[in-house]
């Protein structure tokens, strides 16, 4: 349910971007969500629909998901994050603070926790479309 906190942040940022770009009517907002954070897109979409206000009343909110690529800083191996073998508590901890993946995830090749979250970390406002 902390998707609500993220929805609030998305709307506030979108409002700031709309003002910067002098957009008065927004037709589309594109959001990119990294798999690492395991954000529930349905809850996020619902939260946005409940909180949205001018100039977003008629805007379509498009939520894209991005695969999470992790890259080991020790041996250079790259792999995709998967929560399939994770217990519920660990997955939930990473859901709240994605960086705690460093506590629970290890490089499948060398076992190091020193990896880079190369892509697909959290929630990003990708772009806004609308009229001036």
């Amino acid at each position: 349910m902390h998707e609500w906190a993220l929805a609030e942040a998305i709307l506030k940022t979108a409002e700031e971007v709309a003002q910067q770009q002098k957009l008065t009517q927004i037709t589309e907002v594109v959001i990119r969500v990294g798999e690492l954070q395991q954000v529930d897109s349905q809850i996020l979409r619902f939260a946005i629909s409940q909180m949205k206000h001018a100039p977003f009343e008629k805007a379509k909110f498009r939520i894209l998901t991005a695969k999470t690529t992790l890259r080991c800083r020790v041996c250079g191996a790259s792999w995709l994050f998967s929560r399939s073998k994770m217990d519920k508590e660990t997955a939930e901890a990473i859901h709240f603070v994605p960086e705690v993946a460093h506590t629970y995830v290890k490089c499948p090749k060398c076992g190091s926790p020193d990896f880079e979250i190369a892509s697909g970390r959290g929630v990003w406002l990708e772009c806004l479309k609308g009229a001036k």
Partner: protein
């Protein structure tokens, strides 16, 4: 692409009257004990207080509090649990006693995430146990929290003070609010830290005596507040924080 989290951080903190960052350029000066004891001292003066452990390199306030079996409540964000009268938030809810091998960028992201999703109640004070040093985490908090006031902790050791001095100078240069400096674990009558603090143009708030009973009181807040260290800190809280004006 824009990171949406940055836009709500100060809104999350706007029901808090004062945000006090207990800081030190040097690790091992007792910053976490000072932060926790200060939070209790303010709470015992009738204030509503939160304690936020943002020292991800070695979170330890939960050990001082003896906070076990508590978790934040999830409700459109995370609501910190109350521990001995303090609203309390820490990364330990998510990592337990496991190591957190974060690089600078990870620390920044985790800090921003916690600041974004934590929903504090209306508070008189939020006491932050800051990361030691002047690295990424420290700079992020200086950048992100607009109304932050610094309470700097050193020990009588010149090694500690010379490092702490650099942090103080940086904060002065950046025109940050500094309440003053506390000399922790003082065991003699040397005035060198006090004189050095005044040379920096900062308020020397007082000394906390070295008190072996503090170690015995770790995990026992009631006992902690009966130590001479807690009594000294209570006086500092009353004179410099509750009644005092900021010096910069």
């Amino acid at each position: 692409m824009v990171d949406p989290r940055l836009s709500v951080i100060n809104a999350r903190l706007n029901r808090i009257s004062r945000i006090i960052a207990v800081s030190s350029g040097k690790g091992g000066v007792g910053k976490s004990v000072v932060a926790t004891t200060l939070a209790f001292a303010l709470a015992r003066c009738g204030c509503k207080v939160g304690l936020f452990d943002l020292d991800f390199t070695g979170p330890s306030t939960h050990i001082i509090l003896g906070a076990h079996q508590v978790q934040p409540k999830e409700e459109k964000g995370l609501i910190p649990p109350t521990v001995d009268g303090l609203e309390y938030m820490s990364l330990i809810y998510f990592v337990g006693d496991n190591p957190t091998p974060f690089r600078g960028e990870d620390t920044s992201n985790a800090l921003i995430e916690l600041l974004t999703i934590t929903l504090w109640d209306k508070l008189d004070f939020l006491v932050i146990d800051m990361p030691p040093g002047i690295g990424d985490a420290f700079l992020d908090l200086v950048r992100l929290i607009h109304r932050i006031e610094f309470l700097i902790v050193t020990t009588p050791s010149m090694l500690a003070f010379e490092t702490v001095k650099k942090q103080a100078e940086l904060l002065c240069e950046q025109k940050m609010q500094i309440i003053g400096l506390i000399e922790n674990m003082k065991a003699d009558k040397s005035e060198s830290v006090e004189l050095g603090t005044r040379r920096l143009g900062l308020m020397y708030l007082g000394a906390i005596p070295f008190d072996p009973q503090v170690e015995e009181a770790i995990g026992k807040p009631q006992k902690l507040m009966q130590t001479s260290a807690a009594e000294a800190l209570r006086k500092i809280a009353e004179t410099a924080i509750l009644k005092g004006k900021n010096q910069r």
